[in-house]
């Protein structure tokens, strides 16, 4: 059976721990003067992006290139998907060109599973609907591990994830990986931005947790959700759930401030995080390449990373 990387749940604890160790190794490769290794020479990675994305697509592309894989990218605007060809036709056509792994992003939950049923290639989920974004989760976990000097046991770590949990694949996957590693996760959001049911502890009072947590993870809040009857329009969301000067000052000095990007300044982020020493936001971007190298190597690599 083909191995995939589609959700944290599916990947499981043992493989996640191994991938975190592998990410560490890939991060070290990335710090070399020549960060390129021949590990995936002759392998072909196809990026199938049916939803706008800049950073994730470029991050995957660079990760594959650093492993010496050949890459192809189909972005939705240039694809025949818009010309009446079905998703399945597209996948089967590309598959016939000889693809070893598809990296799939789609606005609808489950598409990576559907793609996997139409091709023998490995499938990496680069974000599906509100469901999962497991490479983001891996890079988040690695970033915490690295910055806090942890092992793969996050016991005792307290993490608050703030914002639009309901519509966030990042919140789902990152919560899963952190819980799996032993961290305590709390969700901070109004009821309308939480999933219909949840077994995660929730609160609507950001001020109650902001000074306590080891990690404050701010989610992107889409402006379109405000005024659409999900949260009130105007500044109320920011007043209740944004990181402002007062809350930033309340953060512990050893806490981490995380955001998956892109940030909505003036919505969930009222301060400039680059001025906060707690911010990991650029680390997350850097670590994303290492995490994606680890995932691709885990799926397609044989033997070692070096020649």
């Amino acid at each position: 059976m083909t191995l995939h990387f589609r959700s944290i749940e599916e990947v499981g604890t043992e493989r996640i721990r191994r991938l975190l160790d592998l990410t560490e190794h890939m991060a070290a490769v990335g710090r070399r003067p020549n960060p390129k290794v021949p590990a995936l020479r002759g392998k072909t990675v196809c990026n199938l992006f049916f939803e706008d994305s800049t950073r994730t697509r470029m991050s995957f592309d660079l990760a594959a290139k650093r492993l010496s894989a050949d890459t192809m990218t189909l972005a939705v605007s240039s694809s025949s998907v818009n010309k009446g060809e079905s998703l399945r036709d597209t996948v089967e056509t590309l598959d016939a060109m000889g693809v070893d792994a598809f990296v799939v992003r789609h606005r609808t939950s489950g598409v990576p599973w559907q793609v996997a049923s139409w091709t023998p290639a490995a499938v990496v989920n680069a974000g599906d609907g509100w469901h999962a974004h497991p490479t983001q989760a891996l890079l988040d976990a690695y970033t915490i591990r690295h910055r806090r000097g942890l092992t793969n046991d996050f016991g005792g770590l307290k993490v608050a994830i703030v914002g639009d949990i309901r519509h966030s694949r990042v919140a789902r996957s990152t919560t899963e990986i952190l819980q799996l590693l032993g961290a305590e996760v709390i969700h901070v959001a109004p009821r309308t931005l939480l999933p219909p049911t949840s077994d995660v502890v929730t609160t609507t009072h950001l001020d109650d947790v902001v000074g306590e947590v080891d990690v404050l993870y701010m989610l992107r809040m889409q402006r379109e959700r405000m005024g659409a009857g999900i949260v009130p329009d105007g500044g109320e969301y920011s007043r209740r759930f944004a990181l402002d000067e007062r809350r930033a000052a309340a953060l512990r000095s050893d806490a981490l401030l995380m955001h998956p990007g892109p940030m909505n300044r003036g919505v969930e982020m009222m301060v400039d995080p680059t001025e906060l020493q707690q911010s990991t936001i650029l680390d997350q971007v850097t670590n994303g390449i290492a995490a994606r190298m680890a995932v691709l190597f885990d799926l397609l690599g044989s033997g070692g990373i070096e020649e």
């Binding site: 789609h106 609808t108 489950g110 559907q114 139409w118 469901h131 999933p195 219909p196 949840s198």
Partner: protein
């Protein structure tokens, strides 16, 4: 069209509304002409049905035949054949065709095509509103005059309470029945599956049980107000069953149906992201399955209806939000129902035959007792075999069955429509 046949069904157990008895049944010229023990064969063909059950043919209150408009999904011919193979001698064709069954011309086209094919009785329903747009009533009386008995905007519910009230008032004097797809649309925008734990986990937009229950409640109260009958389509939630139980206790003219899939599959099936499990109303929880099953067993829910909804692979091989809802039902209904309902044959067949026949206004020819002078619309069921669906062997033009690899119980061996063997030994004869 084939000639009517002369057949002696010998050695079977007859099950109909009057009870069960070991009788042979002689059929000639489209009618049951004699029943009794050990009938002597004359010049007719003797068909040995020892160990089998002979019953009035099934009646499906809820079939999407897709013609006119969507021949790549199903046609009246392929759908009629699927129905015959499933033991059905009559189906009510849902009106969400293209064009809609909202006028005499389209309705007559469907009836006529059904008669030409001649594999089962195809009875078109009519839409309640023109184009199923929820605004303007269709000509109920004109449509009733060409044989429409059941009216529905199935696929969506009539959202406007005032319009639904007037529709019921207007229908009352005509002796027709309005059937509701219960879904308050403002609660289900973008919904792909049941709202609950599973949808929260999968990040898919949810369809709350409440969206069905609010409209079930509303239409029960509108029936109370107007005195007109209401038939509630494909009930899927525990609270809906409870509401109908209350309505029946109050003596209201409310009837209800449930599908085989709503007593056999839960929302957890969507964890595979397989679009075959996307259906409207959605697959619900085990607690709902138990309540709907209990409703069918105690008669709160009158009928098993398939909501047979064919879709071609090209439509289902799409992301979950784009893939149309619906699954096949006609060829598996008996097998699923038998595997999931622990009841007598008489109760089960009643839910598949005479009770839906009455709701559909078809009880002059369908769901009749198996006795002298009645139309020979019959099914012969082999009660024993466990079997699995072979998708390539389905008569339906589509393949969207959720039951591949699932053990089903009991199979249709023969179906007789108007005295003709349209299915013989599990194979359609035309």
């Amino acid at each position: 069209m084939m000639n009517k046949e002369a057949v002696l069904f010998a050695g079977g157990l007859v099950v109909d509304e009057s009870g069960e008895r070991h009788f042979d049944v002689r059929v000639r010229d489209g009618l049951v002409v004699e029943t009794g023990s050990d009938l002597a064969a004359g010049d007719e063909e003797r068909v040995d049905i020892s160990g089998c059950i002979l019953a009035p043919g099934f009646v499906d209150l809820h079939t999407h035949l897709r013609e006119p408009g969507m021949p790549e999904a199903e046609t009246i011919e392929t759908g009629s054949r699927a129905a015959a193979l499933g033991g059905y001698t009559a189906v009510v064709a849902m009106p969400n065709t293209d064009p809609t069954q909202d006028c005499v011309e389209v309705v007559e086209f469907v009836s006529k095509r059904g008669r030409e094919i001649g594999l089962c009785d195809v009875r078109p329903s009519g839409s309640i509103t023109i184009g199923r747009a929820g605004a303007q009533l269709t000509p109920f009386a004109d449509l009733a005059a060409v044989g429409v008995h059941l009216f529905t905007d199935d696929g969506s519910g009539v959202q406007d309470e005032g319009l639904m009230r007037r529709a019921l008032e207007y229908a009352g004097e005509l002796g027709v029945v309005l059937a509701q797809h219960c879904e308050v649309a403002s609660l289900t925008a973008g919904a792909v599956m049941h709202e609950g734990e599973c949808c929260s986990h999968l990040g898919l937009p949810g369809w709350p049980a409440l969206a069905e229950e609010l409209m079930v409640h509303r239409d029960i109260e509108l029936s109370r107000l107007t005195g007109s009958p209401v038939h509630l389509l494909h009930l899927s939630t525990a609270r809906s069953v409870e509401l109908v139980r209350g309505a029946k206790a109050d003596g209201l003219p409310v009837t209800a149906e449930a599908t085989p899939h709503h007593i056999s599959l839960t929302d957890e099936r969507l964890s595979s992201f397989d679009t075959r499990y996307k259906v409207n109303p959605p697959l619900r929880t085990m607690a709902d399955i138990e309540a709907v099953t209990a409703g069918l067993l105690d008669g709160t829910i009158d009928a098993i209806a398939t909501d047979h909804a064919p879709h071609p692979s090209a439509a289902k091989d799409r992301p979950l939000d784009e893939a149309p809802p619906g699954m096949l039902g006609l060829e598996t209904a008996l097998g699923v129902a038998r595997a999931h309902l622990d009841c007598s044959w008489q109760h089960l067949i009643g839910a598949l035959s005479w009770r839906p026949a009455r709701i559909a206004g078809l009880s002059d020819r369908h769901g009749r007792p198996v006795s002298e002078g009645e139309s020979a619309n019959l099914v012969v069921i082999d009660p024993d075999p466990d079997w699995q669906v072979d998708p390539s062997a389905l008569a339906s033009r589509s393949r969207n069955t959720p039951y591949i690899g699932v053990d089903l119980k009991s199979r249709v061996r023969h179906t007789m429509f108007e005295g003709r063997m349209v299915v013989r030994d599990g194979v359609a004869t035309a």
